[in-house]
């Protein structure tokens, strides 16, 4: 599209002002306050003391023993590691499944294609909380999966397969929540793929695996990268799946932040964890920008 200015500069800024104002005041400033609070001291009765302190960040790595010395405490690093590992695993599963499903859909006749894409979006639009909660019923004690095993008398004295409140349950929840966000961008880039390139590869003696690896995958890379970021970023900070499916003991960054504000009332520490989460998100976004630049250079003219 041509970049012809239909609107002059003064009107342009006037039109952008409300968006700037609302997002600036109610998003950017809160984030700045959050960073500031992460460097303050906790008031155990709620709120903060306005004193500069790095206690919140120290607390992430160390704890004080009886003598008041700092001792390395891996507990929060474990939570960080769990969050990253779960988000990465969910992303990997989503890439594998999402790419396969997207390729399947793209190979269907146009009318069926639209229907299949539409079918993906429906559950995606329904309440996330409610859908995650449904997995409690499915995975939980005596739930949908347990029932047939119970009927066959295959369950032990505890009466459950013990699927709920595990890392696997969180992973299922994350995969379930974010899989559509992977399928759709991959589908979008596969749909744009010129199928004659696939025919050309096959015409030039490439078998199907080689064709996928050398032709389809490189050309769908922008979609895969976009999907990976759309899954990884929210999965890293997800609160619902860990909270509902992981149980109290399996905290992730998201549920840790929520816990600090809702229960522990340690604002500086909660803010510090939120800042750490935000740093990870921004780092993955920076990586995304670099990757897409590279993919853009190597890809289509």
């Amino acid at each position: 599209m041509s970049e012809v200015a239909v609107i002059d500069a003064r009107r342009r800024w006037l039109a952008l002002a409300p968006a700037y104002l609302v997002i600036g005041v109610f998003m950017v400033i809160p984030l700045m306050i959050m960073v500031a609070i992460s460097f303050m001291e906790q008031n155990v009765y709620g709120g903060v003391f306005r004193v500069f302190s790095t206690d919140a960040y120290t607390q992430f790595l160390f704890q004080r023993d009886f003598d008041g010395n700092l001792v390395f405490n891996p507990a929060y690093l474990v939570i960080l590691g769990r969050s990253v590992a779960l988000a990465a695993a969910a992303t990997a599963i989503c890439v594998a499944v999402g790419f396969s499903v997207a390729w399947f859909i793209v190979r269907q006749p146009p009318r069926r294609r639209n229907l299949l894409v539409f079918l993906i979006t429906i559950p995606f639009w329904t309440n996330l909380l409610v859908r995650a909660y449904a997995w409690v019923i499915i995975l939980g004690r005596g739930g949908v999966i347990d029932s047939p095993f119970r009927a066959l008398g295959l369950l032990g004295p505890d009466g459950t397969l013990g699927l709920l409140y595990t890392n696997t349950a969180i992973l299922i929840g994350l995969t379930y929540t974010y899989l559509p966000l992977m399928v759709l961008p991959i589908y979008a880039s596969l749909e744009k793929l010129d199928f004659r390139l696939v025919e050309a590869a096959s015409d030039l003696y490439a078998d199907k695996w080689w064709t996928m690896r050398q032709v389809v995958l490189p050309l769908a890379a922008p979609g895969v990268i976009a999907g990976a970021i759309l899954v990884f970023v929210p999965a890293l900070g997800d609160f619902i799946s860990p909270n509902l499916l992981g149980g109290a003991k399996r905290l992730t960054l998201g549920s840790l932040v929520q816990f600090q504000f809702a229960t522990a009332r340690n604002w500086p520490f909660g803010a510090a964890v939120a800042v750490i989460l935000l740093v990870f998100v921004m780092a993955s976004l920076a990586l995304y920008v670099r990757l897409t630049r590279k993919a853009g250079k190597a890809g289509q003219p």
Partner: protein, 362 residues
Amino acid sequence: MSESIAGTEAIGIRNAVKRYGDFTALKGVTLSIADNEFFTLLGPSGCGKTTLLRMIAGFEAVSEGEIVLYGERIAHLPPDKRPVNTVFQHYALFPHMSVFDNVAFGLRRLRKPPGEVERTVREMLALVHLQDFADRLPGQLSGGQQQRVALARALAPHPQVLLLDEPLSALDLKLRQAMRGELQRLQRDTGITFVFVTHDQEEALAMSDRIAVLRAGEVQQVGTPEDIYLRPENRFVADFIGDTNFIEARVERVLEGAAELIIDGGIRVRARLSHRVAPGEAVTLSLRPENIVITAPGEGLAEARVLAQTFLGPNSLVTLELPGGTRLHWRRSNQSGGGQGLGPGESVGLRFAEDAIAVLRS
């Protein structure tokens, strides 16, 4: 060139049928393409020519029938198992690979040693005059250059047959005409059988050893460009290739390979026969506009009146009317010194060149 196929058969298509649901794209096509031949599939869009080409390449499965490549049945083989390569209509170059890697793609898949890959790719790029473009990406090339990369890529594995799907259609007119000669040269130099698909009759006439004209999934006529143009067998072929006059006629007398016919309610003409007709039968004749010879009034086979004249540059198209009301187009050369134009209402005499009239199959 060949009147009939003399040499080895490169491709045999035996009663090939292609159905999509209840739509039949090919209705039992049988063709035999000779080794080292430049063979063209010609027809309007939707006639099934591309489907037929894609069936030879293996992109489409045959619903019925068989395809034979140098004596071997290949209809059941996937494209990567067939020693034929395709030049795609819009080239289908891999946009993320350099020109070199594009051309090397097939060779590497055939597990040729790196040295041979390198040598062959250079050779192919030289063949299409693109030696200096090996490291470019396809997006950095012009349309004509991309088209030559596509040729090099398809020729590099030295296929038994090269399939070309309207490869010139995306080029502008000048380049398209230049590429015609180039393609013929490549075909001669490589000795590979070319099967060429086009809807452009001029292209087909200019390049082919033989042409098959298709319409609605059926072969209408197979023959040399001369056969097709000068001796069209049916109305469709006569109409699709070049301009022609259709004349309703009645068979008067059947002779050896020819017939005497009556046109325009009384004019007696002689025409060549490619099929059997019976005396008294009503038939349609085809007469090319350039095959009408104008004489002074009273000196020709018949009299005609000039209705209109359209100037077309190298020639003019003159509309004539015979006494019985039949209208004919006459193509008149505008060569300098060719005399002055004819005015509407003027009377002329006319006759027809020898062998100029073809009796069409109904």
